[in-house]
Symmetry: C3
Subunit: 324 residues, 3 copies
């Protein structure tokens, strides 16, 4: 790398969490192991550990997202942090203040962490490059670039249910071209050693040259998920359904929607994943989404443990998962 | 009852709090007694008990209500819970997610309690029937059906000020037909043994056959409140004032508005209640609302203790009101 | 004074914090000294003290302000209070409830403190005159009247960096006529003993007769900041830029915008202050705003310590800044 990765400090420890790309395998494993320690916290009577007590976490959402914001909010609160939820779009622009000035002000208020969701690719990275040294930035999704905590919770779910990444066949199905989830997942699963990683979708929704990322490309769903141990369905964005790239939601479902019948082509014990929110009857049939092979809700649960892991690691605190 | 009441567990303890209808007298008394223990918390220097520490309460408001949301928020915080305030109307529909999926996601985030306010009658019940076993649902008002915490805070206020329900004459005045407060109050006060319970209002706003609930019906205000120990005024909704059911706000006030003069017809030590927000000069005159017989603000104060009682009981925790 | 100052109790201690006008010098010094004790809290690993644990602070913002609301929110959380953030404009008017009724309800919910931001001058004072005895009111800015916590954080910044007020030359530059910041600063800095206090701006934006407040008036920027130790730039409100009082933002900058070149006319070690949000290229050049003499971000940081000081003093608690 020409420039050193700003995500790590001089000792190789996590400082910001912006993208899976460029992170070493050992660090991804460390995040998964740390999340493993946090997972039982959600089952306790007192779902709280004191790790980030007296720290201030600012959720900076430039793009609305109830689900992601809520899980980061809960993760921070279960770490005992104080949380500021800022809808930046609504607030800062009103008085004509620049993004840089908004950030500097939040720094001056001695916030310790920014969780950033932004519609522009590279926004979290841009912010991380200009924040004060005491602040960690976590990418909660930036444009079509990355959604690294989603990839880590997906990896966590897979490891929990499949034990190892070593011999897995994993298919990522849908609008790969516009999906930050797909991009982060490919990076994470390749780094973690998944030998057979496939992307499946109509040619118009698969970025040309994606094979360079170490995946095989399929435009036939049955072929793409054949024998797969894990099927990750992507959300088809509403705006895509109305675009010229696709004929119609109905036809998309006929070609790429995951039904119980088609799922039979995957491995017998295949699990089905989806980052949510799901479009029932568009990319996935309700019978599958609610079926025994679906682990979609487990992903949500594990998402909190994974976010607690990333937040506590980036904050440089040592793991103590004892009750507060 | 054909179906067992989902509000109670196998041992008859409160699991959800959805409606007063069907709850035994002993349980209502238990809620009042528990609220009695929480009432002093609000007067302490440290208004906080650790009962729900590490629990997550989600306020799901499908219908806006600053007052009710705020009192539930405060009750949860004074029990040391973490609170998520979700404006569901705004958030979930945007991405086209179904209510069921929203609820399952909140469950997967290991929320412990849903406080639900919804414009559709039966919504809280519907939600309680499909949530995971670890979740309690509290009805914060559903359509024209019930508003059970309001009824319990009204009962609490009455018991505090009148000592016993045994010999009381209570009049509920106004738009009974469209009022969930009236419905819950009638159920609660009948169950608690009030011998003389009256509903008072124009015929167009009294549901036919309401006598079956154990009340007498009056369309003359003076007659209805004659000798009453407690006068509960209902809020006249704005939309009703513009409807064909009523001539005008002005005329309504002339016929059914409570003035100091008319209040003289009630018992000498009668108390005046209102669930708020009040319409001054429509259903109640300012002289009465702010007068010495009004206990409207005490209702608000007691509302927090009552909500703390219901939340802590539904969460299955034993009462400990010692300071945190 | 004809009427005793409602800001102080019978023992001269802070009860409400509504305006600098009328407060004795000793009290201002006490606030600064108390803030001095809170300033290190923001640098600690655990940025929290238990002073207001179990207290409820309601932020009543009738006028939107992310920055001021956020700093009060953080100050309250770092004092361990529970915080209610209420956008009153949106909520109360909807159901037609009067301001007085909204306040009485919040009182009945046993809130301990109201932080009020309102577009009408005198609003905080009006509210303080009618709240229950157990409630303290803090003015977060009322119309064109006062913004007393801003003045105290400005004074705190000046004392930290200039040690004493005794021999200072301070210039306040810009739209003095419409600025509550200017008004509060003049009161505070005069009371604290600043001997040379100047207001600088176009005649249309300087209130006639302001000399009575103990300031000198200048309509030439160079003359006004000549030799100044502190230059406080005021924000030019958007609405002012479009009014007949001013030619254009561009021309305003040419006459009154602070550039590095013009700043050379001030004292060599002059500091530049601004309450934010700044209009780059309107009242201040970016080179100055981001330059070595700018202390704009330190003001933000100190603002939290000052607000913690005022809140804890008004709540009648003795200073204990030990970690929770």
């Amino acid at each position: 790398m020409a420039t050193p990765d700003i995500q790590l400090d001089a000792h190789g420890r996590l400082r910001h969490f912006l993208a899976i790309e460029g992170l070493p395998r050992a660090l991804l494993i460390q995040i998964l192991d740390q999340a493993e320690r946090f997972a039982p916290v959600g089952d306790r009577a007192v779902k709280k550990v004191p790790l980030l007590r007296g720290k201030t976490v600012a959720n900076l959402f430039f793009e609305p997202s109830t689900r992601t914001r809520t899980t980061f909010d809960l993760a921070a609160k279960r770490l005992s942090a104080d949380v500021l939820n800022l809808n930046i779009e609504a607030s800062s622009t009103k008085k004509g203040e620049s993004l840089a000035d908004t950030l500097r002000n939040l720094e001056a208020m001695q916030c310790d962490m920014f969780v950033v969701r932004h519609q522009v690719s590279g926004a979290a990275d841009y912010i991380a490059r200009q924040v004060a040294p005491h602040i960690s930035v976590i990418n909660g999704g930036d444009g079509r670039h990355e959604h690294p905590t989603q990839a880590m919770l997906d990896a966590f779910t897979i490891r929990r249910l499949k034990k190892s990444f070593d011999a897995l066949r994993i298919a990522i199905v849908g609008d790969v071209a516009h999906s930050r989830v797909a991009r982060s997942n490919i990076q994470a699963l390749r780094t973690l050693g998944v030998p057979d990683l496939r992307v499946v979708g109509p040619k118009t929704l698969i970025p040309p040259g994606i094979e360079a990322m170490g995946v095989t490309v399929h435009d036939d769903l049955d072929e793409g998920i054949s024998g797969a141990d894990v099927v990750i369905m992507l959300r088809l964005q509403q705006e895509r359904m109305q675009s010229a790239l696709l004929p119609s939601a109905h036809e998309y479902f006929r070609e790429y929607g995951l039904t119980a019948e088609r799922l039979r082509g995957a491995a017998k014990d295949a699990i089905v994943m989806h980052p949510g929110p799901i479009n029932r009857g568009v990319e996935i049939d309700s019978e599958v989404a609610d079926g025994t092979q679906s682990v979609i809700l487990q992903q949500v649960t594990y998402g909190i443990a994974v976010r607690m892991a990333v937040m506590s690691m980036a904050m440089g605190t040592q793991a103590q998962t004892g009750a507060a």
